[in-house]
């Protein structure tokens, strides 16, 4: 078994055993961190693996959250069930990601920094639409979304919630890692390294990037739906600029080159934030910004990314 798989299994075992050590109420917090970790995983896939810096990734998270809320609250002609809500929360962001990226990458297409700025503008647009839409509840958003029913029970108790979300996170990381190693994933890595060369080897870069972005949007949407399943609301703050900035920090600090590292980054930053915001208060976001700048300068692989890199790369003789 490779060292990389061992690290993944160790991380999973650690989190599976963590409930033994944590007080009951802390499990609910960790269930939320896992939701954010799924979101971070979706960004690290397009940013770290395909090289597309999306500055507005909360668009897909927010679309998932709103889709889940709208269906579950019975605001659509569809039957008002959570499962249909989750289904739409996968479909709507995937469709949006597909449509937007098809538009951005068609013919000459947008690259690098241009792509980043345009995605930021898109997030701005979606946030404004959510704020100004009466149907979506305006500034307040949609509230009182009921929790998900599993086999007739509400998914609400801390331990089952923790375990279910850990399982979904593990499945997400496993799936994305498998995709990275598939022929499709290797083609994406080739595009990241040199798009022109990849194209002259016969790859359809545009189409591959669109599919990668669609997968990422779908997973971000899943995270959005899971957020609603736990918090019971969707609001404009989930779709716009601030959450997009946060997820970027989690992924950068954790490490964008490894899905696991990005997910751990989200968990670690959110955990630190909850521990430190009591004592540091408003200084915390400033410190997060500072750490982010420092990681850009000195730790481009991120904290966990660097650790995984050191552990998996055999020392040179």
């Amino acid at each position: 078994m490779s060292r990389n798989s061992l690290i993944h299994i160790a991380a999973l075992a650690l989190f599976a055993l963590l409930p033994l050590m944590l007080p009951h109420w802390a499990l609910t917090d960790f269930a939320i961190y896992f939701t954010y970790a799924i979101f971070a995983a979706s960004l690290s896939f397009v940013w770290g693996h395909v090289g597309l810096l999306s500055l507005g990734h909360a668009v897909y998270f927010g679309l998932g959250a709103y889709a889940m809320s709208v269906v579950t609250l019975g605001m659509t002609p569809l039957p008002a069930t959570s499962w249909l809500g989750i289904l739409l929360a996968l479909a709507a962001p995937a469709l949006a990601a597909f449509a937007l990226s098809s538009f951005f990458f068609a013919s000459k297409g947008l690259t690098g920094a241009f792509f980043g700025i345009v995605t930021l503008a898109v997030a701005f647009i979606f946030e404004r639409i959510a704020i100004n839409s009466g149907w979506l509840g305006g500034m307040n958003g949609l509230m009182s979304v009921p929790p998900v029913m599993v086999f007739g029970f509400e998914l609400y108790d801390p331990l089952p919630l923790y375990m279910v979300l850990l399982a979904i996170l593990a499945a997400t990381i496993f799936t994305l890692d498998r995709i990275k190693l598939s022929p499709f994933g290797l083609s994406l890595a080739a595009i990241r390294e040199n798009e022109l060369r990849a194209e002259s080897l016969g790859l359809n870069a545009r189409q591959l990037k669109v599919w990668a972005f669609t997968i990422s949007g779908m997973i971000a949407g899943l995270a959005g739906a899971l957020f609603v399943a736990q918090f019971g609301f969707a609001s404009p703050s989930l779709i716009g600029f601030s959450l997009s900035a946060e997820v970027l920090i989690w992924v950068a600090l954790g490490g964008r080159t490894s899905i696991l590292a990005a997910a751990l980054g989200a968990i670690a930053v959110r955990y630190l934030e909850s521990q430190l915001s009591g004592s540091l208060g408003a200084f915390w976001p400033m410190i997060a910004g500072l750490l982010f700048m420092l990681s850009v300068l000195f730790l481009p692989r991120g904290l966990f990314g660097e650790m995984i890199y050191r552990l998996t790369t055999a020392p040179r003789n």
């Binding site: 898109v122 970027l248 400033m286």
Partner: protein, 287 residues
């Protein structure tokens, strides 16, 4: 007819300020290849600068003159500590300056609180213009903005240092091997760009509500302006800002400011998508 003239006057006001913002962004990008995501915060810092200095009891006009210089100094410090370490890595400049913008924004929240503030405008009154009364201060904003734009152009096209800067824009390595001090130019450019944003924030401070999160509302239109016109020139951003601002004013008049902004963003994204080189590339002569 008179209403139309007043409308045009208001539109040119917004347009000139957006030109200042995008000119700063464009010189930083053109010369240093740095995408400055903290530009909106530099603008907001300019407004907070006026607020703070006025709180110290200084007259408005002194505050207006000092605030951009303070922002320039902050820009210089940011360049020295952060930006120069990310040269040659375009995407990293986005991340580094993005981090800087979060840092500055939170710093402002810590110092001034999350709420919005207002600066008391100088008591100038209004003058009759086209059959209506028009605030004199708005006219002064236009004069100051236009003068700052003209001064920037004078700097780039009529002075030795401007000539060197244009040489660096055209070919950085060649300019460096001809003995031009690119390091000095980088410092100057970044603090000039930050200062222009600071000036825009300072002159607008009596007209806007000053809050820590106001920066983004300027950054995005600023970037869209330079992308719409095309990168790599100094005059491009003026044309871009004019296009973006005119579309915004027209759409505001026809619908509401909120939908106008959405219209402009969507239109700009479509233009950037179909003309990645910018609209000016359709007929470019300038180097």
């Amino acid at each position: 007819m008179d209403r139309l003239l007043i409308f045009l006057l208001d539109s040119s006001n917004a347009m000139l300020v957006l030109m200042l913002v995008s000119l700063g962004l464009a010189v930083i990008f053109g010369l240093m290849n740095v995408i400055n995501m903290a530009h909106g915060e530099f603008l907001v810092l300019g407004a907070y600068g006026v607020l703070t200095l006025q709180g110290l009891g200084l007259p408005f006009w002194i505050c207006l003159a000092l605030a951009p210089l303070i922002v320039s100094a902050i820009g210089l410090a940011a360049e020295e500590l952060l930006i120069r370490r990310t040269y040659e890595r375009l995407l990293d400049t986005i991340l580094a300056t993005w981090g800087l913008s979060l840092f500055l924004r939170q710093g402002l929240i810590l110092l001034y609180g999350p709420g919005s503030h207002a600066v008391s405008p100088p008591a100038l009154g209004s003058i009759p213009l086209f059959g209506e009364t028009y605030p004199i201060y708005r006219l002064i904003v236009m004069v100051i903005s236009a003068a700052a734009i003209a001064a920037t152009f004078w700097l780039f096209f009529r002075t030795d240092i401007g000539l060197q800067a244009r040489a660096v824009i055209a070919n950085r390595n060649m300019a460096a091997s001809l003995g031009i001090n690119t390091r000095l130019l980088d410092r100057l450019t970044f603090s000039l760009g930050a200062g222009l944003a600071g000036l825009a924030g300072a002159v607008m401070s009596p007209l806007i509500s000053i809050d820590p999160n106001a920066g983004l509302g300027w950054l995005v239109p600023g970037f869209l302006s330079i992308l719409v016109a095309g990168l790599g020139t100094i005059s491009g951003p003026l044309a871009g800002a004019a296009t973006v601002s005119a579309t915004d004013s027209l759409a505001s008049a026809l619908t509401s400011p909120v939908w106008a902004q959405l219209t402009v963003f969507v239109a700009a994204i479509i233009v950037i998508r179909f003309f990645p080189q910018g609209l000016l590339a359709l007929r470019r002569r300038e180097a």
